[in-house]
């Protein structure tokens, strides 16, 4: 069965992962998931996904940023597209989130993510590949 592409979800909320996985699989994507940054990076090197949905705040308030920086530093991972998912846009952690450094990110989304928008975005980004 051919899929439209490989998508990796890195998020510590299993229910959110399940929702996004279901929506993407129904739309024809192959989906992998990881619950933290290091698991996610390992999976990335193994499966070479086309797009990564990255939750910003997991166990550590800016874990997502750390992952994206690691991706930038690794030539194997640099080409992978990244969409950051954040639930922190208007809380105290905004200060910790570095907006002045260049981040290897295509788009920011805020939870709860409207699913039509999520699917449209995924299709758009992966079509470019």
């Amino acid at each position: 069965m051919t899929t439209k592409g490989k998508v990796l979800i890195i998020d510590d909320d299993p229910d959110f992962v399940e929702v996004v996985r279901t929506a993407l699989e129904t739309d024809g994507f192959e989906v992998f998931s990881a619950a933290d940054g290091s698991q996610g990076l390992a999976l990335m090197r193994q499966e070479k996904p086309d797009l990564v949905f990255l939750d910003v705040m997991m166990a550590h308030p800016t874990e997502g940023v750390d992952v994206s920086e690691a991706m930038m530093e690794d030539p194997d991972l640099r080409g992978i597209r990244v969409v950051m998912i954040t639930a922190i846009t208007d809380t105290q952690y905004v200060g910790d989130f570095p907006t002045d450094r260049y981040l290897h990110v295509d788009q920011f989304l805020s939870k709860p993510v409207p699913l039509p928008e999520l699917l449209e975005l995924t299709n758009r980004i992966l079509k470019k590949k």
Binding site: D13, D15, F16, A23, K111, P112
Partner: protein, 460 residues
């Protein structure tokens, strides 16, 4: 004594003024001698007069040096005493000098005898009323002595030739009257000036008192303000954390419903997704319940009057029954150990039940299958002491101090049980402390934990 220092600092400042005044007096006296000699040559005995004036200048210079030395030392009780004695010495020497000058310039004939009054005023300003009266006594005695000694011929009299009747000093009535008038005047001046001076000092003392209490109040206010700001910051922090904790589950529930309603999932999947959403809803409800308990515990001070005298052991046995099933399900050994003669405590039964339930359920939650949980009760002369021990995952040293904070969950705890509000121990701590007790924990990672709490015995 310290309070007097700012007041009596004026004494030390005034000494400088006194010394400066004396320079003026010296200059004035010399000028007078020169002028009088110019217009009425031969009237005055220049020699002795100039000698005395020089002596005054000399001792004033010594006074200046001593005053400088006094000021070099900080304000102390000794310096205050030394300053006071210093003033006595200055006044005494001045009185003697004035009397000598008068003696060589006519004695009772000389109207400059009025100048004694200056010293009465100065003494009343600088010294206590009692001391000022002594000064008046000294001055009157010196004047009287001079007049009497001249009158009796025991010391020579130096007439103001051509100006005053040379026999005046010998006139008993005149001498007596002069001495009487002088004495009365001096004492009256001292009396009047001392009263005014005393009243002024009292007013200044009052003002200082008011100013000091004002300062103290300002400091109190500043402290209260800091406390309020800290409380406010803590409250804001709490609200931020609460909204954060609420936000994640709520958006996930939304996404689950979005998925189903949007038709993005197959029939079978829909059921699964909805079940997950419901599970998260239950968690949210638990969180809300815990928050309610927390805010309730925050207001527990109000409820302490509703406390009853209860037996911790009874509540513990009750809770044990409820927890036994849970423990068996996880294949854990739960045991309860109560010493005889447990004292009563004053508390709301609900709170005690919550404390035991929380601690024991935590122990069960964080201990792997095959482990042991022991709840025990003992007592010491002032307290009832409860303990919950387990052979579970334990708590790292960094976490130990934070574990009673609201919403705090250790990484290990999260790993074993992702759901969990982190509010339970905060509630327990607040309740215990509201009853005047204490709670703490001893633990090492992988070596289990021991939670110990104490509640004061109920006074009969």
């Amino acid at each position: 004594m310290e309070e007097q220092f700012p007041l009596r600092v004026e004494l030390i400042e005034r000494i400088d003024w006194f010394i400066s005044l004396r320079w003026l007096a010296v200059v004035g006296t010399l000028l007078t001698i020169v002028v009088v000699n110019f217009y009425l040559p031969g009237l005055l005995l220049q020699g002795p007069l100039i000698a005395v004036t020089t002596a005054i200048a000399l001792y004033n210079f010594l006074f200046l040096l001593y005053a400088r030395r006094l000021r070099a030392h900080g304000p102390t009780a000794m310096r205050l005493r030394q300053s006071t004695v210093f003033v006595y010495v200055q006044i005494a020497l001045d009185l003697i000098a004035l009397t000598t000058l008068l003696h060589f310039a006519g004695g009772v004939e000389n109207p400059f005898a009025l100048f004694f009054v200056f010293h009465m005023i100065i003494a009343s300003i600088l010294l206590s009323p009692a001391a000022s009266f002594l000064v008046a006594v000294l001055a009157s005695s010196l004047f009287a002595a001079m007049a009497l000694l001249e009158y009796r011929g025991l010391v020579p009299h130096y007439n103001l030739v051509g100006l005053v009747n040379p026999d005046l000093y010998h006139h008993g009535t005149y001498v007596g009257a002069s001495v009487l008038v002088m004495t009365t005047t001096l004492f009256l001046v001292v009396y009047m000036t001392s009263s005014i001076s005393a009243r002024l000092r009292a007013r200044t003392d009052e003002l200082l008192e008011v100013s000091r209490s004002h300062e103290a109040k300002s400091r109190e206010l500043a402290e209260l303000n800091t406390k309020l700001q800290k409380l406010d910051a803590a409250r804001t922090q709490f609200m931020v954390t609460v909204t954060h904790e609420l936000r994640a589950p709520v958006s996930t529930i939304y996404s689950c419903l979005d998925l189903v309603l949007g038709g993005f999932a197959s029939r079978e999947k829909e059921q699964q997704i909805l079940e997950r959403a419901q599970q998260r809803t239950t968690e949210l409800l638990d969180l809300v319940k815990d928050l309610l308990e927390l805010t309730g515990a925050r207001q527990a001070e109000v409820q302490v009057e509703e406390a009853e005298t209860i037996q911790l052991a009874d509540v513990l046995r009750n809770v044990e029954e409820l927890m036994r099933v849970e423990a068996e399900n996880k294949d854990l050994f739960l045991s309860v150990d109560i010493v005889p003669d447990m004292p009563l405590v004053r508390a709301k039964p609900d709170h005690i039940k919550a404390i035991w339930t929380n601690l024991i359920s935590n122990a069960i939650k964080y201990t792997e299958a095959g482990g042991i949980v022991v709840a025990s009760l003992t007592h010491n002369p002032d307290y009832a002491v409860g303990t919950v021990r387990d052979t579970g995952i334990g708590i790292a040293a960094d976490d130990l101090s934070k574990i009673f904070e609201e919403f705090y969950r250790t990484a290990n705890a999260r790993a074993i049980c992702p759901q969990g509000t982190g509010v339970g121990l905060a509630i327990v701590k607040r309740m215990i402390e509201n009853y005047g007790g204490k709670i703490w924990v001893e633990s090492e990672p992988a070596r289990g934990s021991k939670f110990i709490f104490m509640l004061p015995r109920a006074r009969p």
